[in-house]
């Protein structure tokens, strides 16, 4: 960054104070904004259709929603432990924790797939009413994030295993860790809104 550019962005802290890169934070904040817009749509749809939003969660599988919340939180925990292992120069352990996170990601996708199947068997789809329209739009969007997030972790595992990351230089690992936590944050918000609150 040139001196002039640095002066123009004087309100930003020095790069070293930011966990990960500025680019990943731009992505995270953009994604958080995208989810915030979806949540606002949810709130507006809710106040205009109180009965549909009161009944809606009762026909969804609370067990599937709860299981996926536990899985997402656990995967985030595994990612934190992977970063800690990297800092201790325990590359094998780092890789193992990351595989744990990938396993959780895949398990989440499988549960979500069966949840959608279960909904279909009950006659629930995007056209049923506005509650399920919002539910499918938000959860399928999140589903895609978990999919490509898991794939990105596999890429990071490859880089850990091939020795590209070291104890002192592993920004790529930190970036995917932060991105994965963002996916987790989105889900812990979706869970109460769509499965719990009536």
């Amino acid at each position: 960054m040139t001196v002039i550019a640095r002066q123009a962005f004087h309100f930003l802290p020095k790069a070293r104070e930011i966990p990960g890169s500025i680019a990943i934070w731009a992505a995270i904040l953009a994604e958080m904004t995208e989810f915030a817009i979806m949540f606002i749509v949810y709130f507006v749809a809710r106040v205009h259709n109180p009965e549909l939003f009161y009944d809606g969660p009762t026909r969804l599988s609370t067990s599937a929603g709860t299981a996926n919340t536990l899985i997402m939180l656990t995967s985030s925990f595994f990612v934190v432990r992977a970063v800690m292992a990297m800092r201790e120069n325990e590359l094998k352990q780092c890789s193992q924790w990351l595989w744990g996170a990938v396993f959780c990601g895949v398990l989440y996708l499988v549960i979500k797939y069966f949840e959608y199947q279960w909904n279909t068997a009950q006659g629930l789809n995007t056209e049923t009413n506005i509650f399920y329209g919002v539910y499918y739009y938000v959860t399928f969007n999140h589903f895609l994030h978990v999919g490509w997030g898991s794939a990105a972790i596999v890429w990071v595992i490859y880089r850990v295993n091939t020795g590209i990351y070291t104890k002192d230089d592993h920004e790529g690992l930190i970036n995917i860790a932060l991105y994965w936590h963002m996916i987790d944050l989105a889900w812990i918000t979706i869970f109460p809104l769509l499965y719990v609150i009536r």
């Binding site: 930011i18 966990p19 915030a36 869970f191």
Partner: protein, 94 residues
Amino acid sequence: MTQIKIINYLWLLLIALTLFSAYMAEQSNPGIKSIVIMALVLAIKGRIIVDHFMELKRSHKFLRTLMQVYFYVIPALILVVYLFPTHIAKWTTL
């Protein structure tokens, strides 16, 4: 307490809070009490992930504040929407 122990305990706390939410979901008559608890649980879970999992507690102030605000605003909206649905419906009618 070591950093690993803190993270382990926080993960257990997140799991316990989720199971508590699920229990609340199964209650047949939701009311303001359960809504307040749900909003509070979301705020606490968000704060733990932002501060400890993303490690913003010890790094960047502006990003930390930005992320924390998210988990004040959404729980607050949950309460406002529950308490004043007709007012908000009026404001959001085209």
